[in-house]
């Protein structure tokens, strides 16, 4: 994935009078995972939402470059793979139907979703509303990787996963990084992520 990089500089975000992010900066290069740690409420999720283009920062810049081209916030939203606790799916639809729907939106081949479902051991025919919290987390992983994103934004990515689920998710993350992908991983406590960029501690 040549020419891919992420750089964010001086990010500031307030909610009313509460300053959640204040001058946060960092950078990630190809094949690197940046681990963002900090206690609850330190702004890890807010940072990831700003990086994804889901939240506009009050100040600062986010520069995601792919193939040497700087993406605007709309391009960033379409490009990133995002795993977060606030990501939900249509409970009336099965896991397979949810993925088929988002595959069509993402322009991803249906076989990609089926392959990822099999790797994460997720039953395609189970209704999303009937999935356990661990199974929902697996579905978030599948959803995030559907379109082969170059940047993965992972907010507490191994939350609720059992040992098998965590191993499968870690394997997918390792493959992503080995292929030159980037990742920003937010977690309250340190995680072993292989070849990692310097950690960013918030709070």
């Amino acid at each position: 994935m040549p020419g891919t990089s992420l750089r964010f500089t001086g990010l500031r975000r307030r909610f009313g009078r509460l300053a959640v992010l204040e001058g946060v900066s960092g950078a990630v290069a190809e094949g690197e995972a940046l681990l963002v740690t900090g206690p609850n409420g330190s702004g890890k999720s807010t940072l990831l939402r700003c990086l994804a283009g889901l939240l506009a920062p009050d100040a600062g810049t986010v520069e995601l470059t792919e193939e040497g081209r700087l993406l605007d916030p709309a391009g960033r939203r379409r490009s990133v793979g995002y795993v977060a606790p606030d990501l939900a799916f249509y409970e009336e639809l099965t896991a397979g139907e949810n993925l088929a729907f988002f595959s069509r939106l993402r322009g991803a081949p249906p076989a990609r979703g089926q392959d990822l479902l099999a790797r994460l051991g997720l039953p395609a025919e189970r209704q999303a509303g009937a999935l356990s919290s661990g199974m929902r987390q697996r579905l978030r992983w599948v959803w995030a990787l559907l379109h082969r994103p170059r940047l993965l934004l992972l907010d507490e990515p191994f939350q609720n996963l059992d040992a098998g689920g965590e191993a499968a998710a870690r394997a997918l993350l390792a493959e992503h990084l080995a292929a030159g992908g980037l990742a920003v991983v937010a977690n309250p406590s340190p995680l072993e992520l292989g070849r990692a960029a310097p950690n960013l501690a918030l709070g």
Binding site: V80, Y82, A88, F89, Y90, R104, L105, G107
Partner: protein, 231 residues
């Protein structure tokens, strides 16, 4: 850069996927269908009992009954259509949509769903209304065109306003405040057209105005939607 035809096909596939998803979810929960049908049926019965063939003479019925028909359709639509976007926010599926969908394709898919839902509602309500009120329509072609154009206009206005209020607090109040100026010209037009259809009078320029209203709301929605949908 992909050729324009490929991008158009991708856009159409996205809008189609949203349309199919909306109907699939709706047919499994029947939330909007039940809300719209129940509201329409209740008001129909009340109107029929109070102002039906025994309560309204032909002289009074022609000017009054079209107003009633469109009030029923307006409030039934307002009860069901805004759920489309509000539910995405309440169930937190909006995040996945924001990251995966092209805003204009998302809006058009939702609009197509709302418009077909309105057609289904009108197909249920209009014949029942005419039968229960014993109201004869002298120009059925104009009547059907008014129902289709008015239904589309209501769906487009409701879809846009629903997107605007979905992330706000006090949604019900905000919906009423925003819907009033947007739907008032539409309602005045469709009531006039329905009266013309019942009396067998020519539509004059009102049908053209209705089409212009629909086109204006659609274009304005496509321009506004990315702004209200994204941060």
């Amino acid at each position: 850069m992909p050729p324009p035809t490929s991008r158009s096909a991708d856009w159409l596939a996205e809008a189609g996927a949203v349309f199919v998803k909306e109907w699939r979810c709706e047919l499994r929960t029947r939330y909007a269908l039940n809300t719209l049908a129940l509201f329409a049926f209740t008001t129909l019965v009340v109107a029929s009992a109070g102002l039906g063939p025994l309560g309204a003479s032909a002289a009074v019925g022609t000017p009054v009954l079209p107003v009633l028909l469109w009030l029923i359709l307006l409030f039934a639509a307002a009860a069901g259509l805004p759920r489309s976007f509000v539910q995405e926010e309440e169930t937190h599926t909006a995040t996945a949509l924001r990251l995966a969908a092209t805003p204009s394709a998302l809006f058009c898919g939702k609009l197509a769903y709302g418009a077909t839902l309105m057609v289904a509602l009108e197909a249920l309500v209009a014949p029942l209304f005419l039968a229960m009120m014993q109201l004869d329509v002298a120009a059925p072609g104009l009547f059907v065109a008014t129902l289709l154009g008015g239904g589309y206009g209501l769906a487009a206005a409701n879809t846009l306003i629903a997107a605007m209020i979905a992330q706000a607090r006090g949604r019900s109040t905000l919906f009423a405040v925003l819907a009033f100026p947007v739907t008032l010209p539409l309602l005045l037009l469709v009531v006039e057209l329905t009266r013309n259809a019942v009396a067998g009078e020519p539509s004059g320029g009102a049908l053209t105005q209705l089409l212009l209203y629909d086109a204006t709301v659609t274009v304005a929605s496509l321009m506004l939607f990315p702004v209200v949908w994204n941060p």
